[in-house]
Subunit: 407 residues, 2 copies
Amino acid sequence: MSKFAVLGYGVVGSGVVELFYKNKEKIQKTAGHEMDLKYILDIREFPDSPYKEKIVNSIDLIVNDNEITTVAECMGGVEPAFTFTRQCLEKGISVCTSNKELVAKKGDILFEIAKNNNCNYFYEASVGGAIPIMRPLHRCLAGNDITSVAGILNGTTNFILTKMINDGMDFDDALKLAQQLGYAESNPAADIEGHDACRKICIISSLVYGRHVYPDSVYTKGITDIQLKDVQIVDKFGAIKLIAQVRRLENGKILPTVMPMIVPRESMLSNVSDVFNAVMVCGDGIDKAMFYGRGAGKLPTASAVMGDIIEAEKHSMTILSQCWDKSEGNSFIEDYKAFSSKMYFRIQTENTSAIEEECGQVSYIYNDNKEAAFVTEKMTLDKAMGIQSALAEKNIITAAMLPILDD
Amino acid sequence: MSKFAVLGYGVVGSGVVELFYKNKEKIQKTAGHEMDLKYILDIREFPDSPYKEKIVNSIDLIVNDNEITTVAECMGGVEPAFTFTRQCLEKGISVCTSNKELVAKKGDILFEIAKNNNCNYFYEASVGGAIPIMRPLHRCLAGNDITSVAGILNGTTNFILTKMINDGMDFDDALKLAQQLGYAESNPAADIEGHDACRKICIISSLVYGRHVYPDSVYTKGITDIQLKDVQIVDKFGAIKLIAQVRRLENGKILPTVMPMIVPRESMLSNVSDVFNAVMVCGDGIDKAMFYGRGAGKLPTASAVMGDIIEAEKHSMTILSQCWDKSEGNSFIEDYKAFSSKMYFRIQTENTSAIEEECGQVSYIYNDNKEAAFVTEKMTLDKAMGIQSALAEKNIITAAMLPILDD
């Protein structure tokens, strides 16, 4: 018999409790022994909860209880989650987290503590909600040299973009609908400005390339500038999606980015709609593989936490292949301006000769004699931004510029 | 330092050797220690291979070498693979296999031997080639009650159907093209008659529901009857795919099937084209999650074997959650006629009143006064087959009948 605790009885934490009791028999069979939930930590009281007797408000009670072998941290935010996680790990209690902000900002420190105390800090639920992605990356795909990972990692923005694509809504209306449906918060900045997706690509980049990538070293652009006109123009050949990506470049550096991109119809990622998430992994063995599912929500996220709890219960040793090292400086991260792809431009001019002068060979996809939209050959973001400046000097406005995903 | 051997130096076996030496540094880092390949077993000689000195033709040499801790079985077929695998496991050597026929027919016996000798029999590569699916199912999704798994598990048939859908080729021409491109064998029966997909859904069913499901207890129908006309009629709302599926029914039994089905456009599975494979898993926590990638080929399959080899090197104990029990009889498997879904019919008649008499409420999707195609409400295959017989008694020919996937 082993006992675990849940920190935070909000959406995810209550989902973990619900899923555990619903599937307890199967979970115990997989774990190989009997298990029970002993504590739920929350500062609030839940007088109507069937588990009200398990609810406690002191982390010390949990940390000092020798029966507790695993803790699920479903609190979110850096503090007090960081302090509580550290306390657990220092006592040799494995921690399974859904807290992407904490992993992205402090993962390296927590892995170090876990290693020193021979327990595990698991984080499957921190990226892609229900989607198994961390374990496949460090276990199943361990024989591969992974060249890139590109994902739709934020359900809120994907819902907004889907409404723009399928229903012709503009950004503001789609955001309002997302808020009405509870997919976006009243302050939606973390989602629509790309910070949530940024944390997730930090975690993926750190795992795949072995060194901690901090959020502030990742170029992050949200979807607030996306105009319905571009969504409609590119509809023939692709869909605009917020893509969180990391590439390993030929110079050995890595380039993590979060920005809206045009995903060509041939890519499976273009079919990922509504609040669903997906991650496309490219490697020298697999060519490409994609993982798709619900990226958020009570039971989907709880499913990932539960999988980690079972794994933690089965492992008495730190799993080093799912940890990464501290990074000293950012010298292994390439400047975002070196990002290279075909580019989509929409510019406001009658004078298409200016386009060819600046961009070279292009493929037009729209031209109404006032505006033209076209796709360039592959170029760096640096060059694309130079083109924008050069056009501006000729009094030509670039209404939109979007990189095109190449997978 | 640990040493492993590869049994069978064909497509997959040579891929394992290639991938290992290409990514040796990373693989050793993940495994946590130095590794090397010591033997390659094959009855053929490879005088031009850079690894010719590792090639041996006696399994005894491998089995009796105490340095060998893991073996990759990439031979295919039941014998001599079964005997060799048994010999390895009996010596406590873990075996990682890409051999779906052997796992589907003898997995239960081999797990028993592995358990008794405290080693592992891993089979990630036996289903879905490069796609991580076994480990996600028994680890990451372990907190779920899994209600169904539906997959496109055979690349050859998916290539043929894609050519019919996208290029308007008929079945015979598409098969010939697949043979020319090396996707189909000169005797394509195992693929086009569904036996390959059947072995794979047996493995998935056994893992998910814990009891061995043998190929001969699975209703298996291939794609040889699929007509271009139906592919084109259903194109508006779906794609015909060979779907290998297992469902857990309300009566507690499971129902594994392999048959062509219409996959509605809303399902991500409808976008899986060419030789790619995908597996959609439904569970009470995750709702649904899909895994997509290359289902066959040298390096993709080798990637899965390599992931298993690394895992085997890291585990000194049998992982019981990836084993299943022997099944005594088939009483836990429901008769295929109880399979229930909406049905697509194409019948040759001018007399649509006969349709409504037999089928009740239907939605027409095609009618040229000689033939009509329509979709019924949900019904069992038993009832659908009864309708075919009743129509035949009225001299009305059913030209096509296909179940519609509901995910």
